[in-house]
Symmetry: C2
Subunit: 260 residues, 2 copies
Amino acid sequence: MIIIKLGGSVISNKNKPYSFNQEIIEQTAEEIAQFYPNEQFIFVHGGGSFGHPNAREYKIREGLIGDVKRKRIGFSKTHQAMLKLNSLIVETFLEKGLPAYSVSSSSIFLIEKGEIVYGELEVLRKLLEKDFIPVLFGDTAIALDKGIDILSGDQIINYLARMFKPSKVLFLMDVDGIYDKNPKEKGAKLIKELTKEEIKHLLESSESAGIDVTGGIGNKLKKALEIAHYTDVYFANGMVKGNLIRILKGENPGTIIKRW
Amino acid sequence: MIIIKLGGSVISNKNKPYSFNQEIIEQTAEEIAQFYPNEQFIFVHGGGSFGHPNAREYKIREGLIGDVKRKRIGFSKTHQAMLKLNSLIVETFLEKGLPAYSVSSSSIFLIEKGEIVYGELEVLRKLLEKDFIPVLFGDTAIALDKGIDILSGDQIINYLARMFKPSKVLFLMDVDGIYDKNPKEKGAKLIKELTKEEIKHLLESSESAGIDVTGGIGNKLKKALEIAHYTDVYFANGMVKGNLIRILKGENPGTIIKRW
């Protein structure tokens, strides 16, 4: 089984609310279609410019505090926005003949301190058994600690990798992989492979190493470190045609973190 | 806790695909708002002209047989259509200040012979604890016997009533309640109250009794018979303003089947 995470920045322009990169989703579906049904897939996507504006406006990450009436409304609105993005993706997959099936992350996961502490996977297992491609997404979720919170797509990937032990986990992003510094900086070099020790070293001494492990990529590396207990983890550019195919054929167009 | 089932025929015109009775949903939300948050609610709605055309076109009830590729696509399309209807309802509730939250029925239930045999209720419980109003819906669902099937809103109500022991279950329909014959026939009389024995008698000798227990109402009565083990069951006209309020105040504008 393969688990694919399609980053929000691949799906939509973060600066343009509710923008949807239809062509990239079609391309992704076409590439998956070359391996389905020989291979099982679980697909998880981020929030892009659908989830984030709502989550920010209502400060969902704060939890169910302050004006809780407004918070509850915003929590549900954020979920609705994510369902809209999810339906655009699922419908594109269906048009390409892939039996994608939407599973609402918030209907099956409970979180605490931002991590999944309870997951109901029986429906997912049955969908896979019947040759469906479950499509989950970064979502709002009930949190045991602060009432409500945001459940990131990366957290879902981490949990599913632990539970399903896929043969590969793919993170498709809007850059080519992990770089030795911020990829927007001049002279940034793509790292082709990272070992457990290198990642640990990077995370521990991120500043002195001069590597951009802040924000998104830093969290991603932390997650990758955990996921690589179970499977090979690939980071690649989801905008580049053929990258998904290359990875599924065993190549490494971006960065690989091999299972240890 | 109150569980409300809003029938598909109240929400949309069955003969008009994707029609949505916005005013009735607003009215329903306004009436619920008079009792929330003093009272907890779970809301379940039917498919109306969103779910049924897809379910029919792809013959979902047949199961995963025949052209299974097309069946899978149709299964997912039917779910997508239901999600669209669900989002119209949830968003109307949110506009009226009610913290409705969509829970995908197919993400938490597995069925066999049309009945729920597995239900994951932890997220529902937590949503109620945090004062949300979970909104579920008749949906497609993975079936242990035939692969895929339709899960009716009525089945969901039955399962939830067993699990949550609500103080009342309301079936809001497009007629005033249970009649002594087809309500479209001349001289049909509304039955104000039905006992266990009367329902059993009706179901056993439906023809000789001259009562319309065919199709929808027959199944509803069978379900009501089971639900009344746990709680009072009300049937009423969901199009009539004030009916929901009347029931929640203890009146009976339609038909009541008292808990035995």
